[in-house]
């Protein structure tokens, strides 16, 4: 029986062992999944804020081209020198910030927070495991991530600044910009990918091997399922980008021509290269990762939302099995939709038709998931606490982001919308008020488990409402801008093209003043968004010491992470865990209370 039970008797001896580890091994070089989860979460929250600040500076430049950035302009000039002369953002700096905003938000903020942060902290607890399968590999994963972050961050300060080729780093552009930023970017990416691979192996092995007795596949909380599929996406989609990264690094450092075509002109001269490479190859390899990456961003978020909705409606999730099969379907189809990012590369109508078909197909499981979550609300006695507000806001926001993606999935509509602000609005609706709201929900929801204290409800609600309004003020106008044809990479926010008159007919052929002026409103909304984060940041640190103390199960939830002391000890559980029921047994008829934990035996 040794291999089927996690028994309590080891506990005492282990706690003794735990104390011996000392500060460094306990809190810094820890192998405990909870500490690693918190390390990931804190690091990525910091980068979330940093990535947002980059965007604020860019938004200023878009709304008020050529005017010094208020407040931080001088600081930027002091730190970065020539590229921010007089506190004015130069085109190079704009490109640096643009590329790094995307990179940081995707690879250093949202994925590590959603997958590694929440996943590490919650998954082993929810399946009743004492830790991850490979605790030391888990630690290696975090430190590889951390070094990757340091490389990325450091690259801002090298001569010429960080990468400028966009987060997509399309070659030949990215490999021919004569600064070293791209090299740093690639080295950073290789480290981040290594970290993701180690994490993904660990998650899958943990979920397969360490489920507690009785925790069958269909008793797994939906969050665990979402993380399971996400881990597979990372495991199989990231290596092609690693291969592409290695090849671009070869182009950059050893002068190869993987992505550089014959006869390439750089700076008005024929480049001194062998040629023969293929720029499209980079795009294929990049999007082979980057499309599944979209689902890496969204699936853990859906998982978090599902947990919170079930708990706060006091109902079981409607259609648990449909949710599970849908998330598996998304996992498979995610690998065959990537070229819908490449309709404009001239790859031919037949291939476009294939990818547009798979793209439409993948929207079906996504809609099933959203529908199940909506129906779960029906007839529930909903508790409108802060995590629930964020989770509820996720549903329409994700819906909006998904629906506006359909025109982009059709190759003919994409011809017009490609690379406009419409695209920005579409994917930000999914990632910002979608995923990031879900992540906020998760922070508010699991904070009491990690600290033993609740975050302040009032300030949480302020944070929610102001963020919610600001988000929509930021991204809603971008749909209009995009449909008017405003290109997404204009350094001056499209001013170059505003009010250009056709000399013969006298019609306005550029962007109308109305469209350009929306930029100002968006920038002010982004500032409001920044202000709205202050209550959250203060609340986050203040509540750690002064928040309301709560018991082990403040939300009266059923899943296993709430059936253990707060914060959970090293080894997670103080009693033997045996699972008797599904994850969401709320409001069972005849039960003592309106929730029945998974560890509660059936008495019949």
């Amino acid at each position: 029986m040794q291999h089927t039970t996690h028994t309590a008797p080891h506990e005492t001896s282990h706690e003794h062992h735990h104390e011996d580890l000392g500060f460094w091994r306990t809190y810094v070089f820890s192998t405990d999944h909870k500490i690693i989860g918190i390390q990931y979460a804190v690091t990525s929250l910091a980068f979330l804020f940093f990535g947002f600040c980059l965007m604020l500076a860019m938004r200023w430049q878009i709304a008020y081209p050529g005017e010094p950035i208020p407040v931080v302009g001088k600081l930027l000039e002091t730190i970065l020198g020539e590229t921010a002369k007089g506190g004015i953002m130069s085109p190079d700096l704009y490109n640096v910030f643009g590329a790094m905003h995307g990179t940081i938000m995707v690879f250093l903020a949202v994925v590590p927070l959603a997958f590694a942060g929440f996943g590490n902290y919650v998954v082993p607890l929810q399946i009743g495991a004492i830790d991850m399968t490979f605790p030391r590999i888990n630690m290696a994963s975090y430190w590889s991530f951390f070094i990757g972050c340091v490389v990325m961050f450091f690259s801002f300060f090298i001569p010429g600044g960080a990468a400028q080729g966009g987060w997509t780093s399309y070659s030949p552009l990215a490999s021919t910009i004569p600064t070293d930023g791209q090299t740093y970017w690639l080295i950073g990416m290789v480290l981040l990918i290594t970290s993701s691979l180690l994490g993904a192996v660990n998650f899958i092995a943990t979920i397969i091997q360490l489920r507690a007795p009785g925790m069958t596949w269909m008793r797994l909380p939906f969050f665990v399922w979402a993380q399971f599929v996400t881990a597979f996406l990372l495991l199989l989609a990231f290596p092609p980008l690693e291969a592409a990264g290695i090849m671009q690094l070869m182009d950059k450092v050893f002068g190869t021509s993987f992505f550089l075509p014959t006869g390439l002109m750089v700076g008005g001269q024929v480049a001194d290269i062998s040629g023969g490479g293929s720029p499209l190859l980079w795009q294929h390899l990049f999007w082979f990762l980057a499309h599944p990456e979209v689902y890496v961003l969204i699936l853990p978020a859906i998982g978090i939302v599902a947990e919170i909705i079930a708990c706060n409606t006091r109902k079981t999730l409607w259609g648990y099995r449909s949710l599970v099969y849908s998330v598996l379907a998304i996992g498979f189809i995610a690998f065959i939709v990537w070229a819908h990012h490449m309709y404009l590369t001239g790859m031919g109508t037949k291939i476009s038709a294939f990818f547009q078909t798979t793209t439409m197909i993948i929207s079906i499981p996504s809609v099933i998931i959203l529908t199940c979550l909506f129906i779960t609300l029906w007839g529930g006695s909903i508790r409108f606490n802060t995590p629930m507000l964020f989770a509820l806001a996720f549903l329409p926001m994700f819906g909006l982001g998904g629906l506006t993606g359909l025109p982009l999935g059709f190759s003919f509509a994409d011809l017009h919308l490609h690379d406009t602000y419409y695209v920005i609005a579409h994917f930000h609706y999914i990632v910002a008020p979608g995923t990031i709201f879900a992540l906020f929900a998760g922070v508010y929801y699991w904070y009491p488990k990690a600290t033993g204290r609740k975050m302040n409800e009032f300030w949480g609600k302020v944070h929610f409402w102001v963020s919610f309004i600001a988000m929509n003020l930021i991204f809603q106008p971008m749909f209009a801008q995009g449909m008017a044809g405003m290109h997404r990479r204009m350094y001056d926010g499209g001013a170059t093209y505003s009010g250009v008159l056709d000399p013969e007919t006298g019609d306005v052929v550029g962007l109308e003043a109305f469209i350009i002026n929306l930029n100002k409103g968006i920038t002010h909304a982004a500032m409001l968004m920044a202000v709205a984060q202050l209550p959250f940041i203060i609340n986050f640190f203040y509540s750690m010491f002064k928040g309301e103390k709560v018991d082990d199960n403040p939300w009266k939830a059923t899943t296993l992470e709430w059936q253990t002391p707060t914060p959970p000890p090293h080894g997670n559980f103080t009693k033997e865990i045996i699972v008797y029921r599904g994850p969401y047994d709320y409001s069972l008829p005849g039960a003592k209370e309106d929730y029945t934990p998974q560890t509660e035996p059936n008495h019949k």
Binding site: F238, G255, G276
Partner: protein
């Protein structure tokens, strides 16, 4: 409190943790090398007619190296089997042989690399003139220079270099080809040494990654593979030496470690079995 199933398999999955872990890791490795092989196909299909080089690698050496690596695949299984039979001494021998094979492979690969780094192709400004492949003599450099480029020649203000062109060999299909490594077998006739003006050179490159997309993918794939060989050899050397103490304390777990490292080693071999025909023969 220890993580369960580190040694004993879990009954419903039939696997111990590390075995599952290594299979998952190998799945990601398949995707990594798969992407590079796909790139190879795409680059080759996209190459202009007649520009994809052939016959620049030494097939006999490559074949020998393949044999070395396949032998190591046998010994690595024997090492694991010896432990299963409880014969620790046999394990030591077989594991040692595996490590030696890995080292031999790396030494042979280095010789091949060195040969490429000192072997050149010269393209001329005159487009009518075919490029020449061979070994070069540069004033001020002894023997075969490494990593020379036309840029370096210009920087050093060198005016002429000498080239020993490779003999032209007749390939079985009857096509004439500039021999690379194959040319050393003496069947071809040796063209005379030529003197070349640097001013006439459009491009000069050793057989390094920058030479062409063929060598770019060749070096990327084989170097990545070589890193895997070295990584595997290091782990196996650890398990052969200090790590083998575990045999006395926890033989089952130690045997598992040998199995897992062996699985990785088989994968490394398998990659080479694809690399050899793709790069050397096709």
């Amino acid at each position: 409190m220890d993580v369960p199933y580190t040694t004993k398999p879990r009954s419903d999955t039939g696997l111990y943790n590390a075995k599952l872990g290594i299979w998952l890791f190998l799945a990601s490795e398949v995707m990594l090398f798969g992407a590079l092989f796909s790139s190879y196909i795409l680059l080759r299909v996209n190459a202009l007619e007649g520009t994809w080089p052939h016959g620049l690698l030494n097939i006999p050496i490559g074949t020998f190296n393949t044999a070395v690596l396949i032998s190591s695949s046998i010994t690595v299984v024997m090492a694991w089997a010896s432990l299963k039979l409880g014969k620790f001494n046999h394990f030591k021998i077989y594991q040692g042989l595996t490590i030696l094979c890995a080292l031999a492979f790396m030494v042979i690969k280095s010789v091949e690399y060195k040969d490429k780094f000192t072997h050149y192709e010269v393209w001329f400004n005159d487009h009518e003139k075919k490029s020449i492949r061979g070994h070069i003599e540069v004033p001020g450099e002894e023997g075969n220079p490494w990593f020379m480029t036309h840029k370096k020649l210009a920087e050093r203000k060198i005016e002429t270099i000498k080239i020993h062109p490779d003999p032209k060999v007749t390939v079985a299909s009857g096509k004439e080809a500039h021999g690379g490594a194959e040319a050393h077998d003496g069947h071809g006739d040796h063209p005379p040494v030529q003197e070349i003006k640097v001013a006439d050179i459009k491009r000069l490159s050793a057989f390094v990654p920058a030479h062409s997309t063929y060598f770019a993918i060749y070096f990327t794939l084989t170097a990545l593979h070589a890193l895997h060989v070295m990584g595997g050899a290091l782990v196996m050397a650890y398990l052969w030496g200090p790590g083998s103490k575990m045999w006395k304390t926890d033989p089952e777990r130690f045997t598992n470690r040998i199995e897992v490292s062996g699985l990785f080693w088989h994968f490394v071999d398998l990659v080479w079995i694809f690399l050899f025909p793709v790069l050397y023969l096709l």
